[in-house]
Amino acid sequence: MNYYPEYFQPVNLTDLARLPSQKKIYFLAGGTDLFCYLRDGLIETENSIFVDVARLQELSGIAEEENHLRIGAGVTFAEISTNSLVKKWAPVLAIAANTIGTPQIRNRATIGGNIANASPAGDSLPALAVQGAELELNNFGQKRIVKLLDIFIGPKKTNLANGELITAVRIPKKNGWKGNFQKIGGRRSHIISKASIAVYLRTENSVIKDINIALGAVAPTVVLATSVARVLIDQPINQNTIQKAITALAEVARPVDDFRSSAAYRQRVLGALFRQALSSLVTF
C-alpha cells in the first residue's frame, strides 16, 4: 500500500473541474489536521487524492464588501487574528482565532480547513455561527452559497459533496453589535476545547436587544442556543436572569464523556464560560 495519497496542485479554480471524482478528495491547505490523519493511518491512501489549494489566489484575502466581510478560505488564523477588518466586523472570530493551536499552528491553519474538518471542538465555528456566517462553495465549477450551520451533520461530518471546496466565508456586517469567545481546556495554550462559547449581542441603554449564543464541544456539532435569547432580551441582567440563562443553556448542550473531558464537567463549566463572556460585554 502506498504511504502517500496521490497529489495534485491546481493552478486555479478552473482546474478543479478535472479532479478524479472516483477518488476521495481531500483539500490540503495548512495541513495541520490532514497530516495528523495521514500519520495516524486514518486516510485510505490508495483511493485518496490530496488537492493542494494552499497557493490558490482565489482563496486568499480579506475584503470588506457591501453587506459582508469576505474571508478567503485559505486565510490563516494568524492573519485573521491580527486583521483590522476582522476585528471591526467579526470581533468574535478575531478573539477565537487567537486561541487556536500555537503560533506555529496559526501560521498554517486556515479558516476553510477548520470548517471542513467539522470538529465539534473547532474554535472558529461558534464564533462564525453567532455572526450568521455563510460559505461560498465550488463543486467541480458549480458555485453555491450555504449557511455555515447547514453543512454540519455530525462530529467531523459535513454534507459537502466529494470534491466540493469551501472558497470563502461571508460574515454579515452588523453595526452596534459586540461579542466575546471563551473556551476551556487542560492548560492555557495549545488546547483543544473541552467546552467553548461564543456570544454576540446588541444593547441599548445597557439592556440586551439582540443576542446570539453558540456552543462548541458540547454536542455532535456546533449549536446555536436560540432558546436562551428570550430569557435575556429586554430583561434586567442580574444573577437571577443569568441563572435562568445558564439553565436554558444546559438544555441545549448534549455533551459526551470522552478522553478529553466528562459530560458532567462540560455541562457545569458551560455556565462559568457564559458568565465570563457576558461579563466582558455588559455590566451586572
Partner: protein, 155 residues
C-alpha cells in the same frame, strides 16, 4: 516523485522526493539535517520548528511540495563563521538547556519573537514560545535566556 527547489539556510537545495513527504522528513532523511528534531510528529511539541518564509511552523505538518521556492531556516543556519548566534550564547550562559531536544525549536521561536520586539514582556515570551514544549527546565531559565538574548541583540 517531484523535484523541489528551495533555499535552506541561505543555500539553494534541490530534492527529488514524494510531494507529500513532510519537510521534517525531507530535512532529516533526504538532506541529513538531523538538527531538526522529530518529536510528536503531530504539531503538539514544537521540536521540529523551522522558520519558513519568516514564520515559525511545525515542519512535521508541512508537505515538501508547499516549500517549493521558499526560504527555510533551521538551527544550523544561525551561527555564522563558527560563531554562535547571540540567542544560542544566551541559552548556554543561562543554563536553559538540559536534555536539549526542544532547544533547536525553542531558539528559532525566540528568534522570530525577538524580530518583533527586543523588549518582550513575560506574556509576550509565554505567547511566542507557547508552541514549544520543554519537559526538563520548567521554563524559568528559558525566559531568562530570552531576556538576555534580547539584551545582546540590542547592542
Amino acid at each position: 516523485m517531484k523535484e523541489i527547489k528551495f533555499i535552506l539556510n541561505d543555500e539553494p537545495v534541490v530534492v527529488r522526493t514524494e510531494p507529500l513527504k513532510t519537510l521534517l522528513r525531507v530535512l532529516r532523511e533526504d538532506l541529513k539535517h538531523t538538527e531538526v528534531k522529530a518529536g510528536c510528529e503531530q504539531g503538539e511539541c514544537g521540536s521540529c520548528t523551522v522558520i519558513l518564509d519568516g514564520k515559525i511552523v511545525n515542519s512535521c505538518l508541512v508537505p515538501i511540495a508547499q516549500v517549493e521556492g521558499s526560504r527555510v531556516i533551521t538551527i544550523a543556519g544561525l551561527s555564522k563563521n563558527g560563531e554562535l548566534h547571540p540567542i544560542q550564547r544566551a541559552f548556554i550562559e543561562e543554563g536553559a538547556v538540559q536534555c536539549g531536544f526542544c532547544i533547536p525549536g525553542m531558539i528559532l521561536s525566540t528568534k522570530v519573537l525577538l524580530e518583533k520586539t527586543l523588549s518582550p514582556t513575560d506574556e509576550q515570551i509565554r505567547e511566542g514560545l507557547s508552541g514549544n514544549l520543554c519537559r526538563c527546565t520548567g521554563y524559568i531559565k528559558i525566559f531568562q535566556a530570552v531576556k538576555k538574548a534580547a539584551q545582546y541583540l540590542k547592542k
